[in-house]
Symmetry: C2
Subunit: 300 residues, 2 copies
């Protein structure tokens, strides 16, 4: 019943590696220096030094510390295996919601989720608290959490918000200097779109990836932490929804390719108004697709 000592263990091995770079009999730097090297506090360093002394790796008297012998592989201490970690929890969580088609207003059990995602309950709660800012989840009066989205209203508001951000991005692309990397990206995207259009009969399912790349390229011009944060969620949601909605996928994708090309045309002509108009057309289609995919789920 306490926090893990992973931090100590990692630091110990790091210090061991550092000692390996020193010759035998060498003086070992001060605790403060070692703390800097390992990126931890002195408290941990002192635990490490105690162990090094116990194992006879160093002598330690007052401020005189000497390396007695070269560290061996067996001197290292084992680390608890890392697991998937909470770094990509967001991806995995949204993936889970969408893949298993978790309906709106489902109670979420932190205990259960922490098992399925193999992260401590604590991290999960923190994550859910973050998501609640996007209105995807909320706390229940009787405790625990509740999945709110994806209702029709949520999808509409998300689409509208996306349109706003994307229109802004397109405007900024149109005003980007000629040496901005976005132009190279768009030129490559044009080729890839044309290539896919030629092979649409067989490769139409490849469009999903291309779509994500397209919107990412456009939005890469916008340097704004708030917008970037939202784009992560938006792109995930749209991306996954498209992946399932298999109705008329080929026709839809073929149309979307043309819509993308129209935007690229307008941008390369530096015609901001035309680009914005083309973007609005494209996003209206997206919105319709998203909504119809929801309707399918409601019926099934």
């Amino acid at each position: 019943m306490a926090r893990s000592d992973t931090r100590y263990r990692e630091a110990y091995n790091r210090i061991l590696s550092f000692c390996d770079t020193l010759p035998v009999e060498a003086t070992i730097p001060s605790e403060t220096r070692l703390a800097e090297i390992a990126g931890v506090s002195r408290t941990i360093i002192r635990r490490c030094l105690s162990r090094l002394q116990d194992l006879g790796l160093i002598s330690w008297e007052g401020r005189d510390k000497r390396l007695l012998r070269k560290p061996q592989d067996e001197d290292r201490i084992a680390l608890p295996d890392a697991g998937p970690g909470k770094s990509d929890l967001e991806q995995r969580f949204l993936d889970w919601i969408l893949r298993f088609d978790v309906p709106a207003n489902t109670p979420l059990s932190v205990a259960e989720l922490s098992r399925t995602f193999e992260v401590p309950q604590h991290d999960l709660k923190e994550f859910l608290a973050g998501l609640s800012r996007f209105g995807l989840v909320s706390r229940r009066p009787q405790g625990g959490w509740m999945l709110l989205g994806f209702t029709k209203d949520y999808a509409i508001e998300l689409s509208d918000f996306r349109s706003l951000l994307e229109a802004n991005a397109v405007s900024q692309v149109a005003e980007a200097p000629v040496d901005h990397p976005v132009w190279q990206g768009l030129s490559r995207l044009r080729q890839d779109h044309l290539a896919l259009k030629a092979a649409i009969e067989t490769d139409f399912h490849e469009f999903s990836k291309l779509d994500e790349r397209f919107h990412q390229t456009i939005n890469s011009v916008v340097r704004n932490r708030f917008i970037a944060e939202f784009q992560k969620v938006i792109s995930l949601i749209f991306h996954y929804h498209y992946m399932w909605d298999k109705t008329e996928e080929k026709i839809r994708n073929e149309a979307a390719i043309d819509e993308h090309l129209a935007i690229i045309d307008a941008l390369e002509a530096r015609d901001a108004d035309a680009a914005r108009a083309a973007t609005q057309r494209h996003l209206r289609t997206s919105k319709t697709t998203l909504l119809s995919s929801l309707r399918l789920h409601d019926l099934g």
Copy 2:
């Protein structure tokens, strides 16, 4: 070392009040019914019933429960005093940052904050996790949290984002139907602006409230949960920053009144383009003011 029984205590008093509405000798509803009435689980209801029985308020055998006497005030159980609660934690936290001018890159101690705000550490962590979505705080590698904003970059990006949202709101106002409450609000705002302009020499500090009301009215037209969430933070930050920056306050406010009136004029003329242009002008001024107020803090 466990969760509090506040839920039980509140439920007990609620059940007591319910019993007060019944005549003596009356049959008490089923556990499930009582659970619905009190808004808690059956587990709590059974604890309540046990206590009611112990105190001789009810008889309880199998499913036959009878009220033996009218509940008195002394039958109620004490509640741990509520404290400020975590409902307005956001307001209080932002207020604290801005009022005490907490600089960027300050480590935040959950333990300390939980004391100053009188909320459990747990609630605070949840709150901070939410704020991290706005890029205001982030986790530190060595544990704990760190206040990131308000740097210059943060202010710029926030201003830009605000402009985007506000331009959108203005566009929607211009297209709002004649019977929409926003028109009445704007008409009142016009009068109040004119009144303040007339009394600007003495009442110029009153503008802050008017400013908040103006932007709230404009944004009230937008029905979007994502935008609404951001507006809360944005308005707080701008509002407070203006409150301190006392340099040339009168002149600034006088100018802002004219800018607001220009927007109202354009909107009431249903001239969306002019309204957007006026809004951009106004927000450019806002941005400059926000940035200069930051510069003042850096120097002081």
